[in-house]
């Protein structure tokens, strides 16, 4: 893949105004698929969660999953949308082997939710309003694995293998209106928007929202408008953006790439582009063409969804706090400084910290664990912090410190044991014998021995030179293999020095 020329980001911003738009797909965490009673499970063996409806076999008929409708209405309400009094399904016809029936059941002219607004907070606390055009229900497509060619990409593939387990999984697609005025914040706004949607669906409990699993996917539309021209540029749609960080990088990349082309007198091709995490670049996919003429028509096998006003009000009443409001409340409840709280938000670990606090740890200790040691270990392991430990484990670990079983240092060793899969913190403490020696008898024996072997130090302590005690404390901690509370050892050293 030839490297595209990129313009310096600041220079690009001088010449052009970035214009954005996002399509976010959210997989709903229902037990079954959108239109069939097949399980909606991630990670099953290929083609095991399949009914005739998933394959579009002759005679098979789709039936709408009521829970998926409820989830979609809740999401629509959380997005500030109006819920359509009547909405219908439509067939989107296309030829691609990710769906066996040559069409995807989606919604076209009558989506379930329209005209919303989402408040998005940037890292420095500034708020940005993003208008939502619509949110509609549809089914996900199957998963293709390209065989042959390089690195499983479609270019150069010899054939593809299709797993239809994902075909029919309920999706809500959220479409924004055109976003102007993001300016240099455009990349960060993209990340913050997707992050806001992720927080929202997690708070609603309607999606697992794991981007690495494709539960939440973002297509980012980017175009550049020459300053002062008042005209919109040609847009590209970048797909395959599977992390918050990638969303930010992909938007930045497209701004720089398009600016270089336009400034060089070229034109932007309206096309789908693929983001490559490894190279940090996008590559051209399919040009917009006839293939986008989907010949939508009403799905004759499904009836309209006409939610009762009482149902809508019931779901509205059950909505959780908006993410921005929740953040403001948590910051106040936890008594965090701006910096501390921003650190938490930027780490993307707000939910984990909240849960750790709910499990009994203090906010400050929860914050320190997640943004400190756990983030550090995750970085070393090149993994997500959330994949290493659970909030319940972190809370248990902290409670072991609070009750004196562990020192901070021992707790870090226990954490490593938990991450290594040795069990719960308590189990690791027992198995590794890491608990603090709280038996004063054992400590006193070690202290007496250390004092006797260093008579000069003993003399200094007796003379009131208390800093000399450090050498004895060090020796005792070493003898105890670090499994002693240093403050308690210090107390005892001073007592024994006087007593001996």
């Amino acid at each position: 893949m030839a490297k595209a020329k990129l313009m310096d980001f600041d220079k690009a911003l001088e010449l052009f105004e970035p214009v954005l738009g996002f399509e976010v797909h959210v997989e709903l965490s229902t037990k079954t698929k959108m239109f069939s009673a097949a399980p909606n499970n991630f990670g099953s063996e290929p083609n095991t969660n399949i009914t005739p409806t998933c394959l579009g076999l002759p005679g098979a008929l789709p039936v709408v999953n009521e829970q998926a409708v409820r989830y979609s209405i809740s999401l629509g309400l959380a997005l500030g949308c109006d819920i359509a009094p009547s909405s219908t399904f439509a067939r989107k016809n296309y030829f691609y082997p990710d769906l066996a029936k040559n069409y995807q059941i989606s919604q076209f002219d009558q989506p379930i939710a329209i005209n919303g607004n989402v408040e998005v907070e940037l890292a420095d606390g500034r708020l940005f309003q993003i208008d939502i055009e619509r949110a509609h229900m549809e089914e996900d497509a199957g998963k293709l694995t390209h065989v042959g060619g390089s690195a499983g990409r479609i270019q150069g593939a010899e054939y593809s293998l299709v797993d239809f387990n994902r075909a029919g999984v309920p999706l809500v697609e959220i479409v924004t209106r055109i976003i102007y005025g993001a300016e240099a914040d455009a990349p960060e706004l993209a990340k913050a928007y997707v992050s806001t949607i992720r927080d929202m669906v997690v708070a609603l409990g309607i999606s697992d929202a794991k981007m690495e699993r494709g539960n939440l996917r973002c297509d980012a539309n980017v175009s550049l408008s020459p300053r002062g021209s008042g005209t919109l540029g040609t847009r590209t749609e970048t797909k395959n953006v599977n992390s918050l960080r990638s969303v930010e990088r992909a938007v930045r990349y497209e701004i720089q790439r398009q600016a270089a082309i336009l400034a060089g007198g070229g034109t932007i091709t309206q096309e789908t582009r693929h983001w490559h995490e490894d190279t940090g670049a996008t590559s051209a996919g399919r040009p917009k063409s006839d293939a986008d003429d989907y010949r939508y028509f009403p799905e004759p096998d499904l009836l309209p969804v006409v939610p009762a006003p009482e149902l809508i009000e019931e779901l509205r009443a059950a909505l959780p706090e908006k993410p921005a409001e929740r953040r403001r409340r948590l910051k106040a409840d936890w008594n965090f400084s701006d910096l501390e709280f921003q650190d938490v938000v930027n780490s993307g670990l707000l939910n984990e910290i909240t849960e750790t606090v709910a499990q009994g740890a203090s906010p400050q200790t929860a914050r320190k664990w997640w943004t400190g040691e756990i983030a550090r270990l995750a970085n070393i392991a090149d993994a997500e912090p959330t994949s290493l430990v659970t909030p319940a484990q972190v809370a248990e670990l902290q409670l072991l410190i609070d009750d004196g079983t562990l020192t901070d240092r021992l707790a870090r060793q226990v954490l490593e044991g938990v991450i290594a899969g040795e069990g719960s913190p308590r189990e690791v403490v027992d198995a590794r014998g890491l608990a603090v020696v709280s038996d004063d008898g054992a400590l006193i024996a070690a202290i007496d021995e250390a004092l006797k072997s260093q008579p000069d130090v003993l003399e200094k302590i007796r003379e009131g030179k208390l800093q000399a005690a450090g050498a004895v404390i060090g020796a005792v901690m070493k003898a105890m293999q670090g499994k002693a509370d240093a403050a308690r050892v210090r107390e005892l050293v001073l007592e024994r020095a006087a007593a001996l």
């Binding site: 095991t48 076999l57 998926a68 293709l144 309209p304």
Partner: protein, 123 residues
Amino acid sequence: MIATSHPLRTPGEPTNPHRDKLEIMSDITAEQVRHLAGLARIDLSEAEIASLTLELGQIVEAVASVSSVATADVPITSHPIPLVNVYREDVVADVLDTAQVLTQAPEHDGSRFKVSAILGEEQ
């Protein structure tokens, strides 16, 4: 092609607002048929395109005659049966086993359908 006579509409009666649009649509051209055939991956001969252009025009015209009786206050219907909210509980039921699923695959690798690589159309 059917002449533009509308026996169901008496002269002077208000016309459906969609009427004009449908009349334009009924004017099917060979180019539209070629385009649709391309989208549907159907290989048509020139003779077939010519006859389908005529037939599709007649079909659209016949359907358009419906709008001569539908007045503006008749809502657009998406389904012939006046039912709404036909739902299924979110409960898992039996699935096919993989061997059954793969009986429908022209080619497979034991667990997945094997299809030709389709270049440049990744969704």
